[in-house]
Amino acid sequence: MSDLSELYQDVIIDHSQHPRNFREIAGAQSAEGYNPLCGDRVKVYVAMEDDRVTDASFTGAACAICTASASMMTQAVRDKPRADVGSLFERFHDLLTQPHGEDEPEDETLGELASLGGVRRFPMRVKCATLPWHTLKAALNQQPEPVTTE
C-alpha cells in the first residue's frame, strides 16, 4: 500500500464524508480548536456524569484527517472514565508520532483509530489528527481559550 492510500483509507474517507456524532450537545462542556494556517476549525462537546463521558460530539469545518479523527474520537471516548480518555489520547499520539516498522501491527486497543497510523508518514498532518483531541482535553478541563496545534 502506498503512503497516500494508507493515509486516505476507505474508513477514513467514510468518517470524513459521513462524520459520526456531528452535532451539538446542549448544556455540555465544550471547547474550540482552530489551526489558522490550514483553516481547520472544530468545536468538541463532552457530556459527563460522575467523571465518566456519557456522550461526545463535534461540529466545525476541517480537512479529512481532522474530521475523521474527530469522528472516531467521539465514538471511542463514549462511556469511558475520564482517566481512560487521557491514556487513549496518549496511545493515539504515539500511533501518530512514534517510529513504526513496515510490518509491525498497529496497537489493537485503538480500534478504528489505528487506521490513522498512516498519518505518521506525513509529519505536517499530525497537527490535523491531534486537533480534536487537544480540543477534547480543553473541553474536559473547561478551558475557555481556543486550542491550536500549529
Binding site: 486516505y8 474517507i13 494556517l37 490550514c38 479529512a64
Partner: protein
C-alpha cells in the same frame, strides 16, 4: 571588477523557450515522491537560476567584506557590488534616482518601515488609512499597529465576486481624512491586477500618500513607479528569482528625506554623541547595521536575469500559459476558481467540492505537484468568498503546459480519493 565577470545572462536564444530557461534552474530538475517536480508555488517563493547562485557564491568566495566601512580592496569591491545592485533595483522599477531605493529584508519589512517611519510622524487621531479587502496580512497588520499607536482609523475597500477592487466604492472611501492608501499591485490569493495609476490619482487628488505592495507584481509585470505615480513601492527579492532575506523599498526622494529613522545603529548615522545624534540622508538612514550584502548582490543578478529575458517575452508566455490553465481548470468538474478578474496574473486559487485544501495539497504533493493550500495570509479574502482555505497554483515563466497537465491529472487523483 570581478563581480561583473560572472555572467548574469540567461542561456536563451532570440525566441523564448521555457525548456531552455528551465535548464538554468537546478532545483527544477528533480523528482519528488518519485515523480518529476512540478513547481506551482511561485507566489510563495520562486526558484533561483544558476547566475543568482553564482553571484552569491562569488561574493562569499572572492570578495566578502563589509560595505561602506573599510578602505581595503575587498571592502571597496563589496561596496561597489552592493551599490551596483541598488542601481539595478532602481532601473528595475524605473526610479528617478538610486538613492530612492532602500534595501530591506523583504516586502513585509518595507511596509513596516513606511508604516512606522512615515505613519508614526504623519498620522493623527481622526486620520484614516485605506487598504483593500484583497490585501496580504503584511499590508494590513502594520497599518493596524500604527493606527492603534496614533489613533488613526483603518478602512478597507471592498472587492466584487470576481475578486476585482470596486473602484467606485474605493473612490468614496478616499476622503480628506485619508492620509495613506496602501494597496497591492497584484493579489497573492486571487491574482487580480489592480489599476494602480487610477488608484494613485484618486488618492493624490485628496492629498493621500500611496504605498504599493508589489511582491506579486515584480515577477510578472514591468514596474514603472514614475508612471504609476506610487509614493512607495515594495517588493521581495525571493519572489523575483533572487535570494530570501532581501527586499526593496522604493520611496520618492522628498518623502524619504522627511522621514525619521526606522531603526538605529551603525551605518545610518552622521555623527553620534550622547547629547545628539544626526542621521545620514536616505537610503543609508534606513539601513542600520550590516545589510544583507550577498542578498542584494543576488537580487541584482536576478534582475539582470529577468531583464535579459524581458517582460515582453515573459508576459507573452505567461498569458498563453494562464489561458491554458484557465481553460483546463474550468473543465474540471466540481472545481471552483476563486478570483476571476479580467486583468489577472498567473495565480489560480481553487476549491474542490468535498475535498479540503489541505488534503488536496497532500495528494498533489504525492504526485510531485507543489501548490499552496491554506488562507495565503489573506484571511479577509477567504471570508469574502466564504471558504476556509483554497488551493493555489501560481505560475512563473519556467512553467510549461506540461506542468498544467500534471496539475490537472493530480486533481483527478484527488477526486478519485474523495469520490
Amino acid at each position: 571588477m570581478s563581480s561583473t565577470l560572472h555572467t548574469t545572462r540567461p542561456t536563451q536564444g532570440a525566441k523564448f523557450d521555457a525548456h531552455r530557461i528551465r535548464a538554468d534552474f537546478p532545483v527544477l530538475a528533480q523528482r519528488v515522491n518519485g515523480k518529476p517536480l512540478v513547481y506551482l508555488d511561485n507566489a510563495a517563493t520562486s526558484q533561483k537560476p544558476q547566475p543568482v547562485l553564482d553571484a552569491v557564491m562569488a561574493f562569499y568566495r572572492e570578495y566578502n567584506a563589509n560595505v561602506h566601512r573599510g578602505l581595503h580592496t575587498l571592502s571597496t569591491r563589496a561596496t561597489e557590488a552592493y551599490e551596483n545592485a541598488r542601481a539595478k533595483a532602481a532601473r528595475f522599477v524605473n526610479a528617478a534616482h538610486a538613492d530612492e531605493i532602500v534595501f530591506t529584508r523583504g516586502t513585509t519589512e518595507s511596509i513596516n518601515l513606511v508604516a512606522h517611519a512615515f505613519g508614526q510622524s504623519n498620522l493623527r487621531p481622526g486620520d484614516e488609512v485605506l487598504v483593500t479587502t484583497m490585501e496580504h496580512h503584511s499590508n494590513i497588520v502594520p497599518w493596524q499597529l500604527v493606527c492603534q499607536a496614533t489613533g488613526a482609523t483603518l478602512k478597507a475597500a471592498p472587492i466584487d465576486d470576481r475578486g476585482e477592487l470596486m473602484l467606485d466604492a474605493f473612490a468614496e472611501l478616499v476622503t480628506d481624512r485619508t492620509r495613506i492608501v496602501a494597496v497591492t499591485h497584484v493579489s497573492n490569493a486571487l491574482g487580480t491586477i489592480n489599476p494602480i495609476a487610477k488608484i494613485a490619482a484618486l488618492a493624490h487628488a485628496r492629498g493621500a500618500m500611496v504605498l504599493v505592495d508589489g511582491a506579486q507584481a515584480a515577477p510578472h509585470l514591468p514596474i514603472d513607479v514614475q508612471a504609476l505615480d506610487a509614493d512607495f513601492y515594495a517588493f521581495s527579492g525571493h519572489k523575483v528569482f533572487g535570494p530570501t532575506g532581501i527586499g526593496v523599498l522604493y520611496g520618492k526622494a522628498d518623502l524619504l528625506l522627511a522621514m525619521p529613522p526606522y531603526q538605529g545603529g551603525g551605518e545610518m548615522i552622521r555623527s553620534v554623541t550622547f547629547a545628539k545624534t544626526t542621521y545620514k540622508d536616505p537610503p543609508a538612514r534606513f539601513e542600520a547595521g550590516t545589510p544583507n550584502i550577498a542578498g542584494a548582490i543576488g537580487l541584482g543578478a536576478s534582475i539582470d536575469y529577468v531583464e535579459a529575458i524581458g517582460f515582453d517575452a515573459i508576459a507573452a508566455h505567461e498569458r498563453d500559459l494562464s489561458a491554458y490553465a484557465q481553460e483546463q481548470l474550468s473543465a474540471v468538474p466540481r472545481l471552483r476558481l476563486i478570483g476571476t478578474a479580467e486583468h489577472k496574473a498567473g495565480v489560480f486559487s481553487f476549491v474542490i467540492e468535498g475535498a479540503h485544501a489541505h488534503d488536496v495539497t497532500t495528494i498533489l504533493d504525492a504526485e510531485g505537484v507543489a501548490v499552496r493550500g491554506g488562507h495565503h495570509c489573506a484571511q479577509p479574502v477567504m471570508d469574502r468568498f466564504g471558504v476556509p482555505a483554497t488551493s493555489r497554483a501560481s505560475l512563473a515563466f519556467y512553467n510549461t503546459r506540461a506542468d498544467i497537465d500534471a496539475l490537472v491529472a493530480a486533481i483527478a487523483k484527488v477526486q478519485q480519493v474523495f469520490k
